[in-house]
């Protein structure tokens, strides 16, 4: 039997506001436990929430970026349950009326096809605190620094049909929130995390299968692995006569498996109701237009512009616009070396990305500024060095931070473009290799490469390849 996978994602993105969604506490990561928890965060008797307008602005920004409907009025509700990291005994979230509703995100799959993934809604809510167990034998600690950090929960339609599609969607959302500067996207610190709803159904079936919700997915790799595991588990279960139960499962990255988090009998009834401490959130037309005016160029727009303005392929444009920083870097290089946009693209995606990856660096780390790379490309463009030599120069620049011209100068890597000098080198090689010359002239064309190699060797690779080819052909022909 053929099975189809159906996936929907709930992405939690922490908004990068300076203070919390309902209190004035700071939201910076890494402070000592409870150093950033005030009376509101601690849920003290008598305290009240006051909405942070910046969080609303960021949520609206996201909504506009995905072409969603922005609710003129939305409502904060209380989600009631007991847990020590939830000080008030309820989480303030949006339930029936979220601020962002009904948008879509387009992803490009590996084969180049495009797919539209629906976004059901995105709502504002507060994060919970954390329970700490390490180094606290016999007790559990509670750190409420994170309690009250603003989140948007982005809920997709069940539109994805494979782990690959899910990853492509998640990466696109990740790119988007960073473009919008509403979330730092740091997955290790939990700023960007995801729950996946996974089900399987017979190929061609209309009804969805029963889904399991997988929690705690804080890396792209885990999402992929968890989905693969879960799909295999469900198929195996059904094929052996079992039934998938609707439940919440936790992904264990150490064992690479998902397992049930709580049984149905223990499932919470959250008793949602509108929070009487907060008035309905009113968003005016002028507020929305103000936010719209601040929207940056979005990834898709930028990719389209790169393709037309710089003559890049759709794929290259997509890679280069995956982050705003990389796109900015590329664009600075491309503008500094007019007419060489494709060369710039190859170098940014090739040598530069490889070098960054190797050292696990980000383009913003400033190890090789855009202008420095442009300096190198300029020398390729004006034929001072060949592409091959350029790689050597790049390595030296990467290691020492020296400008391209200095490296070329110091190492004497300037390309030989003087025809007389190249001619002399060719003559010497021909003189040294009479046997090969005779064979070549006897019809063994393949030996041409041998002569190129010998001349390059003699000139330490500096001979201009095009000139060398032309001259060599002439001279070999006699």
């Amino acid at each position: 039997m053929k099975w189809e996978t159906v996936i929907g994602l709930e992405i939690h993105a922490q908004l990068s506001t300076k203070s919390k969604i309902f209190s004035g506490s700071a939201t910076a990561y890494g402070a000592p436990p409870n150093a950033q928890a005030n009376l509101v965060d601690l849920g003290y008797p008598g305290v009240l929430p006051v909405l942070n307008g910046e969080a609303v602005r960021m949520a609206v920004k996201f909504g506009l970026a995905i072409g969603a409907r922005i609710a003129r009025q939305s409502v904060f509700a209380r989600k009631n349950y007991f847990y020590p990291d939830l000080p008030k005994g309820y989480q303030i979230s949006q339930y029936e009326l979220p601020v962002v509703g009904n948008g879509a995100i387009e992803v490009v799959l590996d084969d180049g096809t495009r797919k539209r993934i629906g976004v059901t809604r995105a709502h504002l809510e507060e994060d919970a605190g954390k329970s700490l167990h390490e180094g606290l034998p016999g007790v559990s600690g509670i750190d409420l620094n994170r309690a009250g950090t603003p989140l948007i929960e982005i809920v997709s339609e069940p539109d994805m049909r494979s782990a690959k599609e899910a990853i492509a969607y998640m990466k696109k959302v990740h790119t988007l929130v960073r473009y919008l500067e509403i979330c730092d996207g740091n997955m290790q610190e939990g700023s960007f995390r995801c729950d996946a709803n996974v089900s399987v159904r017979e190929q061609g079936a209309e009804k969805f299968g029963t889904r399991a919700e997988i929690k705690n997915l804080n890396s792209f790799r885990f999402v992929e692995k968890a989905i693969h595991y879960e799909v295999a588990r469900q198929i195996e279960l059904i094929e052996s006569g079992g039934k998938v139960v609707q439940e919440t499962r936790l992904y264990d990255p150490d064992k690479g498996e998902t397992r049930p988090m709580r049984s149905k009998e223990e499932a919470n009834d959250y008793r949602y109701f509108p929070d009487p401490d907060l008035l309905p959130l009113e968003v005016t037309e002028s507020f929305i237009e103000g936010v719209r005016a601040q929207l940056p160029e979005l990834p898709d727009q930028k990719a389209a512009r790169f393709a037309s303005e710089y003559g890049l392929s759709g794929y290259d444009a997509g890679v280069l616009t995956a982050s705003r920083e990389l796109a900015d870097y590329y664009e600075e290089v491309a503008r500094a070396v007019p007419g060489e946009a494709k060369l710039a693209a190859n170098w940014v995606m090739g040598e530069l990305s490889a070098a960054l990856n190797k050292e696990n660096l980000d383009v913003t780390a400033g190890k090789l500024p855009a202008q420095a790379l442009a300096g190198l490309l300029r020398r390729i463009a004006d034929q001072t060095i060949s592409g091959k030599i350029a790689k050597e120069v790049f390595e030296a620049m990467w290691a020492s931070g020296a400008p391209a011209d200095a490296v070329i100068q110091e190492k004497g890597l300037r390309q030989i473009t003087d025809s007389a000098a190249i001619g002399q080198a060719i003559d010497a090689v021909m003189a040294k290799n009479p046997e090969q010359l005779a064979q070549y002239r006897g019809g063994k064309d393949k030996l041409f490469g041998f002569f190129v190699g010998q001349v390059m060797k003699a000139t330490q690779g500096k001979a201009n390849p095009a000139q060398l080819n032309e001259l060599l052909k002439k001279k070999l022909a006699g």
Partner: protein, 486 residues
């Protein structure tokens, strides 16, 4: 002239004329509190040392020529308002030893206005009750007859003023908790419009209904104190950013032409005939002052008790979830695990009435019941609010009884919560609609005070206080003090 029977306005004048100092006043009222405690049990905490200290500071301020009208006037705060460095119990074992790290906005504003806090008034546990019998710190007794309840939940505040243990006390009203005890104790109690007074630092019972207010001897005093309490607070999103009118300046406006609405539903068969007689007599006073009476009907009002006992418990079930034994408040001994900690801390820390309401509230919010109970109650609430709006198109204020009967004996209704809940039948409507309402004394039935309720349109406090004040200019019911406390 005795000092303790004077109104806030008179005491303020006396302080200004240096007839007495704040320290003298403070000592006098502290002694009255301490002497009455074993009988009335009106306060949970007496802050003698802090009170004397702030009285001295007030006197220094006055000597320096830097005094405001309320500088040095002693008051009592209901123990639902958080007070920095002083324990705030909310009448519950759960908070028996809870010392708030901050002042409620009401407390901070009255402090800034110069008042001196004498202590914290007893109350029904978490403001849930109509008789002040649910307090973990014991029942409060009615000074007019100590076998009777003072009403609740602000029983301690009402008794404080009735027995002149202080000239005024803050209070809160969720379904009648200011007006009902004010009526049963023969004092003036004002519940402002929802949003007029900040709820920040006022421990929440039912957030959409709770409103802080004041109990005093006269409408004039209430106006003076409300002036200091009211106004927008950035810490309370539901407080309203509207200017606060000068309440005192409108007090004497003539009532000629005032249209008074008599709610048909308030003069029903549940109203004690003797109580009704006092109300009718009061209405005659208003006619004499030039007001006209007209019967109006709020057809949905009879549903108010039912709607209230869905909405209020629902909100309370969520508001009281924070009392879990983890960060503050009562924690059970030796919890064996997290669930045990929750169950026993809450089981032992909360009293029966609080638990009853938490359970009711949890039930009405549960999946499958939400639409039938909570959502329907909210719809009824809107209908009632709309009824009031229609009524106020025809009349300026609504006047009627505050309670169906005068004070009842301690223990008489504790075994039957429904009978107890019906005590708030006339007061709940104003909470559901967010309207300002007050109770003033209008006579006695068999030696027990009867309260007259005045309800005004939203933010109509000025007119409401004016209507109450002119009645008090014509009558002397508000000056009556129980024999033992004269």
């Amino acid at each position: 002239m005795t000092i303790h029977t004077q109104s806030v306005s008179q005491l303020s004048e006396g302080l200004r004329r240096k007839a007495f100092s704040s320290l003298e006043l403070t000592k006098l009222f502290l002694e009255r509190i301490e002497a009455s405690q074993s009988v009335l049990n009106a306060l949970i905490t007496i802050t003698r040392e802090q009170a004397l200290e702030s009285a001295r500071a007030a006197d220094r301020k006055r000597a320096a020529g830097d005094a405001a009208p309320l500088t040095g006037v002693p008051i009592v705060h209901k123990d639902i308002f958080c007070t920095e460095a002083v324990r705030t119990t909310c009448g519950s074992r759960m908070l028996e030893n809870f010392v708030s790290p901050y002042d409620a906005t009401v407390v901070a504003r009255l402090k800034a206005a110069g008042t001196v806090m004498l202590g914290k008034a007893n109350m029904d546990e978490f403001a849930m009750g109509s008789s002040n019998e649910t307090s973990w710190f014991g029942a409060v007794r009615n000074p007019w007859n100590t076998d009777l309840v003072p009403g609740g939940s602000s029983g301690g505040s009402a008794v404080t003023v009735a027995a002149r243990l202080a000239p005024a006390a803050t209070a809160t009203d969720t379904g009648g908790s200011i007006r009902q005890p004010a009526a049963l104790c023969g004092v003036t109690g004002v519940k402002p419009t929802y949003g007029r007074v900040s709820r920040y630092g006022m421990i929440a019972f039912a957030s959409s209904l709770d409103q802080g207010g004041i109990i005093a001897a006269t409408a004039q005093d209430a106006a003076l104190l409300l002036q200091a309490m009211a106004g927008f607070d950035p810490n309370d999103s539901t407080s309203v950013d509207l200017p606060v009118p000068d309440y005192a300046s409108g007090l004497d406006a003539p009532l000629a032409g005032l249209k008074i609405g008599l709610l048909k539903e308030f003069f029903d068969k549940g109203l004690d005939p003797q109580n009704e007689r006092r109300i009718r007599e009061a209405l005659a006073v208003y006619e004499k002052l030039g007001a006209t009476l007209r019967e109006v009907s709020l057809p949905n009002l009879p549903l108010s008790v039912a709607a209230y006992y869905v909405v209020a418990p629902a909100e309370c079930s969520s508001n009281l979830a924070r009392f879990d034994g983890v960060r503050f408040g009562y924690r059970c001994e030796n919890p064996k695990d997290l669930t045990d900690l929750y169950k026993r801390s809450r089981g032992e820390g909360f009293g029966a009435e609080v638990k009853r309401r938490i359970m009711t509230g949890t039930y009405v919010l549960s999946a499958g019941y939400y639409d039938a109970y909570y959502l329907k109650a909210q719809k009824v609430r809107q209908l009632i609010a709309a009824d009031f709006v229609r009524a106020f198109n025809e009349v300026d204020v609504l006047i009627g009884p505050t309670t169906p009967t005068p004070a009842f004996p301690i223990g008489a209704k504790t075994s039957d919560p429904i009978t107890m809940y019906l005590n708030d039948i006339y007061t709940i409507g104003a909470n559901l609609a967010g309207l300002p309402a007050m109770s003033i004394p209008c006579g006695f039935v068999e030696g027990l005070p009867v309260g007259l309720q005045i309800v005004a349109p939203q933010f109509g406090e000025q007119r409401m206080l004016n209507v109450a004040h002119l009645f008090q200019r014509e009558t002397d019911w508000h000056t009556k003090i129980p024999e033992a406390y004269k």
